[in-house]
Symmetry: D2
Subunit: 367 residues, 4 copies
């Protein structure tokens, strides 16, 4: 089982509740010899930090990670990395008043059904705060991937029904930098004012929005495995494990279901350097579960934030009607998809780091 772990060779295990004293992640399987320090991780954590713009939760968490083990003299040693992120702005008492209420869109009901108990303080283990650990681990995965020239960049593709343009895939580090600088995680500043206006009116109405995140990755051909460990299967698995995600699509995705084969098929060419490759990329960078060498491209749909400032009718654990009122819960993100951009990018990096390490012995002549 190990429902708190992800990955086969490059494997993470996360722990901690939203309002406990700390959260953390163990990374097992990172090769020795990778330069790594706290700042490598904190740089990425800042991309999902709350409290940094009017468009994210006002909760003040600096999310300063510390590597407790696995690094010696500035390099990984092959030992497990243990990264801890202390909690600073915990307010468990704020949740006392609705500890028995079934919060719409939250895990209160299902955790009770499964476990008979629920740490209700800020969502406990079900809180999106856990995703900070994914981003911390993703930071390590990205450093490992960069050594092999693999890059990843995610960005907002649609927010509250407003479409944003696709990003160019030719310079992913530059793209990632542009996205990190945007409070709404857009790669293209021209759409930001419309999004900001929509968010402002939604916040004013005490409501929330959904969104779609797109992710690009530049990878060599041959990553991924056939059948049950297809690269797109691992990516879908990773993405649907992110809180609030509701869908995944690769390349043309759901639109491919409306295409003819003659239009959808990517034919093959031999380019000027003599490299064989698909002439187009409707497939999204993968064929039969294995990367083609063209950019990986996929999208993840996020539902609107479940916690809203409007009062909601519900029942308590005893079945009595009750009203869930905003109060401290108002410390919420108006659109979880914004901070999810960093999480999508991190999870993609984790999948790719694992695929890279798994790929090594596919052919005897590479051994």
């Amino acid at each position: 089982m190990a429902s708190n772990s992800f990955g086969i060779i490059f494997r993470i295990t996360t722990w901690g509740e939203s309002h406990g004293s700390a959260i953390g992640v163990i990374i097992d399987g990172c090769p020795a010899g990778l330069a790594l320090n706290n700042e490598d991780i904190n740089l990425e954590l800042r991309k999902r930090r709350p409290g940094t713009s009017p468009y994210t939760s006002p909760r003040q968490e600096r999310d300063q990670a510390e590597i407790l083990a696995g690094v010696f003299e500035g390099q990984t040693t092959g030992a497990p990395l243990s990264i801890i992120i202390p909690t600073e702005d915990a307010r468990p008492a704020a949740y006392e008043s609705f500890k028995t209420l079934l919060r719409p869109g939250h895990g209160t009901f299902t955790y009770h059904a499964k476990y008979g108990v629920f740490d209700y303080r800020g969502g406990g283990r079900a809180s999106a705060r856990e995703t900070a650990c994914r981003v911390a681990a993703g930071a390590v995965a990205k450093k490992l991937l960069a050594v092999s020239g693999i890059q990843v960049a995610a960005y907002m593709r649609e927010l509250g029904g407003i479409y944003l343009p696709a990003a160019p895939g030719d310079n992913l580090p530059a793209l990632a930098q542009r996205v990190a600088a945007s409070p709404l995680r857009c790669h293209d500043s021209s759409t930001e004012p419309a999004l900001a206006a929509l968010l402002a009116s939604t916040i004013a109405a005490g409501d929330s929005l959904g969104g779609i995140v797109e992710c690009l990755a530049q990878v060599p051909p041959g990553l991924g495995d056939p059948l049950y460990e297809k690269l797109e299967a691992r990516l879908a698995y990773a993405m649907l494990s992110i809180p609030a995600s509701r869908g995944f699509e690769l390349g043309e995705g759901f639109a491919a279901a409306r295409q003819r084969g003659s239009a959808h098929n990517d034919t093959f060419i031999c380019d000027e350097q003599g490299t064989l490759k698909p002439a187009s990329n409707n497939a999204g960078g993968v064929l039969a579960g294995i990367s083609t060498g063209l950019p990986l491209i996929f999208r993840v749909a996020f539902k609107p934030t479940s916690t809203i400032a409007q009062p909601q009718q519900t029942v308590d654990l005893g079945g009595n009607p009750a009203t869930l009122s905003p109060g401290p819960l108002a410390r919420h993100d108006p659109c979880v998809a914004i901070r999810a951009v960093a999480v999508v990018e991190a999870m993609a990096a984790l999948v790719l780091a694992d695929a890279l390490l798994l790929n090594h012995r596919a052919q005897l002549k590479n051994t």
Copy 2:
């Protein structure tokens, strides 16, 4: 790794190439005491058999499965089940002429990139013929689930851009029976003539179509795990491992990204029997990775069949331009989504059987 296995406790491992002498599946972890015989499996296999209508491949495979091990005196014993399906209509020679061609939409290129070798006969291991093994294993999973009252039914929701209505979720065995009786896997016969006409014209044009399969499941609350083993994550993983699938969405799915939280959230009620449950099912039957008790509902997008009867420009392994001409490859499905209905249903059953067996010790008081 084990890229040919799926599942944690109820775990399958499949083997065999499209034009080898047989294909097969091992099922490990099935509880002892389940009544099982060959016909239980062959009944399900008939749902994805080729050669049974003008809308599927004319390849003649009766797909008669035989249980070689794991059953004694009509019951499972706890030993691994070994199911074999001999190949009858293999025509490997038919593939000789284009063994060096990079077939658009197929694994030829990526298998060569990864393994340096490719069993080109009918797609070898990358062939959708492997999905017969998934359906065989799914037949066992369904029998196991039925003992706990869990039912699954999939059906065509969209084909070549034509939408079909959603099915009622109140009687899944009846729904499954209706779908099995339809050559196009529709639950609703009124749309079939339009689909048949579209398929006929597409076949005449030497082209192919994509489609979207919807799946419903009736499960008790509490199945699935939090975090990385969320029920929807396991389902997405399973569905994106099916050949030609391009997307997965749960409940409202991608449309949820365009909803407001106040509209999307399912509030909770206490019904007349005193049962707590969501009042609506925008979530698709899952909250925080764990089933709510309302029907699971998800969709899977399939690209149009890659093999088409029109000639396609491509290159060979040496980089020389070449034309891929139909010939024997014309033994293809005009729309893979039709036969994929049975595969989606089988994979859903495998995920649920595993979740059921994993769930047992979540609470100490259940032990």
Copy 3:
């Protein structure tokens, strides 16, 4: 891979180096509803604490564990448990002088061969200090097992060639208590003076001793799995993962290789309560990988402590002859087997907790 994890359902992951700021363990898969607090863990940790008798290392580590996550209002919640043990008596500088020396019996050489780098401070990750995490996790496993009436007790069976009598298996909690009270982990005080004398003379000679630990467990019939997950296979796997262990045997063990079948076979009887069971226990409580209901009994051999106070000839990483001299390394255990008693008991508890949770769905009628 995940070489720092153990277990399938009840799964631990440990982290930390001997002279880092802390070590810790994550436990995933513990059922919700188990009462648990820090003292439950610290009680067990005291059994392997150094610095408590002349017969163990003088290093002063109080080994005060803290549960950082997974417990809410005194009970486990189904979330992962994170337990941390801060390091107090770290003296990394003491290891500076021989950081390039290949220490006989230690991992310096092989870690360099594998990883190209080695955290030499007190053995880094290869240090037996990691076993504190195993004992902490074992404390949780024992509490879980106790709910099902399963008990475990280990004790010294042979030390430096001096045999100790076998312990009675009828009251394991009492046995465990007697053993915990003995500084040499003997259940039988009559042999202790001879052992103490041998240890004193060995310490005086700057040398070290090996030993054999025996472990008993009272378990119901039916635990364990056939074939590759046999209960004895999991136990052997667990025991040979303990630093300095060199052998494992079940029941009559190596002596069984010298018996005739007519003498070794345990016949079956039906006792006065109508219970079927083996009439004797040469098998050590397991047949065909599954527990019989008679006490599990196995032994683990430990080599003499590798770190000794005598100077040893060796070479450095550059191949130059060098002498490894005692100095601070003298903070060693004269016989690792003594403190290993607690570790054997903990690892046995981890194997059994996992077997208990895995056992639940073996038969359909139990579901």
Copy 4:
């Protein structure tokens, strides 16, 4: 769980009962490009075939394996290998008369306790016939290992209390050939007459003998992992999964528990070629879980065959006293350790092939 699988990257799954129509094994994770045919496997299977000498079971099974999938044009393709071994001399009726008897030393009782059902025909899944699948898979592992210069050889070290000399470790292929030519799997023909005489008198008395198998392997430094996946832990796990095994020891093993550290420690030298290595091999080729480059050496103890020709008192499933009489069961091995030599060798090869494939990304600079 997956109790019928072994290995992480190079992973086998076996199926089939003793008196079913066939048994088989799937190998997942074998790199593409390895030359392989049926005869490679049958060559190894002949080493554990029954019916070839007066010292093994008279059951006539030619054990002719056939590769059904995973090989194309004489080479592995990266697809799973499916190997089947049809059963020829099945006599299920012979077991009818004691289907309710609890056979001493067998799984009848524990399988009933766990599964509530037991395929009693010749031991069903619990039969040692399953080990033919291990040997078949081991044949593939050995071919893979040979490419990297890794060799394995096992032989009888003790039989019925008679010790045999240790074998030289300098030429393992020659050693393996000598052992294969000996009906008693001895490397040294001088002891064979005494063993043959002991076996003859034991057979005449209707009794059985135990034995100890020793195994040597020549491996490079750096294989294996620290902590829970130590090379010796994986070997112990593998060996204790073999039917009738009762103990495992590495290097000096249990005898190390009686040595002083000053005697047991292997110091390090730099040889004439400038290679760093241990000067002696008391450790048995492993330090801290990772290979040193000196020969791996370990021993496995086997209990005497449980099935004996003498009548044995027992009870039936209803608790009624009964006598188990020889009859057809007399088709047994007088000493299972003889045919277990091939199984120990195969399991060692499986552990090493997995360690080899896992090792590849331990250091970044090797990537």
